[in-house]
Symmetry: D3
């Protein structure tokens, strides 16, 4: 009896897209407004999906209170009210695209989650743009 459980969380952060191997003209051409020099920001919405067997004693796949706390420690404390490009070591040398943020979050959570669970993350940069990893 394999069930998937989901928990939503959110963090507010600044970022910009800029590839340091390219000149300004190329950066502006590829990234448009997302390359503006002084950063912009988003209310990121995060959806964490954990799949596993239901424990008959609790009726839980995993305690969502525990999962919520894990997301707080691993994701919100690192990213919330931060500048992803400047403040977050995980993005040194890595573009802060939604795709890359989702992969970084997945790696952070995967390291804390027992291997008997599967893990997927969905990250909304805006209500109309979002990503999932792994696909």
């Amino acid at each position: 009896m394999r069930v998937a459980v989901f928990r939503r969380a959110h963090f507010n952060a600044a970022h910009r897209l800029h590839n340091p191997n390219w000149d300004e003209a190329r950066n502006r051409e590829v990234f448009g407004k997302c390359n503006y020099p002084n950063y912009h920001g988003h209310n990121y919405e995060l959806e964490v999906k954990v799949t596993g067997e239901v424990d008959p004693d609790t009726g839980y796949v995993v305690d969502l209170g525990w999962l919520s706390k894990l997301i707080e420690t691993e994701v919100e404390e690192r990213f919330d009210h931060k500048n992803l490009n400047i403040d977050v070591p995980e993005f040194q040398g890595r573009l802060t695209s939604a795709e890359n943020i989702a992969v970084v979050i997945w790696n952070l959570l995967r390291a804390q989650l027992h291997e008997r669970y599967d893990l997927h993350v969905r990250l909304y940069e805006t209500p109309r743009n979002f990503v999932e990893y792994p696909a």
Copy 2:
């Protein structure tokens, strides 16, 4: 040409999490506020997904009016404005976690749905906590 169709429905119900094999202290430790004795409740949102071939005469996988009626009969009439722990026979001897509610709903609908269709359910306990079965 296999397409999935989704129908959303909802019911309002009271419940609490309590394992009768444990003492009060253990129940409170594991379930926290969800164990409070006099019940709390939720606006449960249900998303039913039926997958199958499109009928060329109707353009339908399944008539959503019929599916809506099925959800009303099998789920809403059993659960809506009820206390899941007390009023619903399907939860005697089974914890009323979102995971278990989703499995019970899937079993009720599966019994009424032709085997040529696949069935999945997603159940929102709150906008931030939800489950899917089968995973």
Copy 3:
């Protein structure tokens, strides 16, 4: 420069509508499913509106962190994961309709808010049924 600021919060609670001055038949006739004996429940969404002058030193009408904490202390701790009919003294002798819950919340918050602010509350019982006080 008078601005209104809003903060949303939520609590999950059980309740039923029952007028002890009426017999069962009258209760069932007036309140329908909301009168079912073993309670049902809702994810209540609360929207608190505070109106006042903007403080030029902070740019705030009121610190929303403080307001959020006030809602937690005055409303969530009293109502969240509770049975409104049984557990909450404010509803002894008062029907737990959305209208009355909103008035009770307004009274609790008003008592803690400086008189230079105006206060309004909106309470969603479901996404389709909600109330505002004062009107």
Copy 4:
């Protein structure tokens, strides 16, 4: 590192369900209100999912600005503020069910998308009725 990216778009259109091989009574029986002769309409919400590898130079699976423009050219310009039954050649001889609209949209987008990407579409006819293709 395979990631899925999603872009939401919308169009407002009129339609009706009517099978010309059936008489009026059969059409009304099967399609109910959706068969009313003078059309009704919807705010269709479209969710396009593209799956592929992340480009290390951009952090993108695909430029969402480009994808948004593609949806505008291929879908919105054809369908927005149109009568799907009368104005859109793709629906001549095909019922304008949500299932069929999703398949038509998938075909239009698939023809413009490099084969290294996977493509899925989800189409909301209303917030409570929606479909996905391929399933």
Copy 5:
């Protein structure tokens, strides 16, 4: 103790904007895509607000079940799955703008509502465009 209660409902309808006193060029210039000849449509969301005193016996301003039924009879049965320009007598000689639809709905409901209540309607043509009457 004056409280406002709200009930949301919805209907799906086709319409177009066209002023018969103007030629085609003027209509197209003023109304743009909304003037396309074969109609388009919307999922209209309606929010009905009734303000009055709370009845101490019920805790209600007005029974929302009754209000919901009234909206069904007066609004949904007239407008749902209809072409507002062709099928609805109230719009003969009147443009089917969101503003006018809101006024028509207000008049229909006002006629059925006791004068001790105030009435306001909000109508969403899309999630981004909506109107309120009276202002």
Copy 6:
């Protein structure tokens, strides 16, 4: 026949709260995480309300296409993908609180709107924190 029409728009921006007349300790004490030095950001949602008489020739209070364009020119082009503290002259010497942003937006739009219309703005900093001006 006075009707209010609403148009929603959005912009993504970076900001921080910092009062230059205070030392770091006082800023951190009052503004908490919102004072972090390298900025954070939001998906701001803007709701513009214009109240006036319905024009019998168009059924419009104001052409929402025109209003949408006005918001684009006056608000989105100034604020979208910008750092409000650094890039926007209107916030030099003014804290970038939601309250102040709403007042700045109202002033920008008011200057372009005929005096026969009333104007109100609502600004969502997050789905749970928002403001209205004038109150």
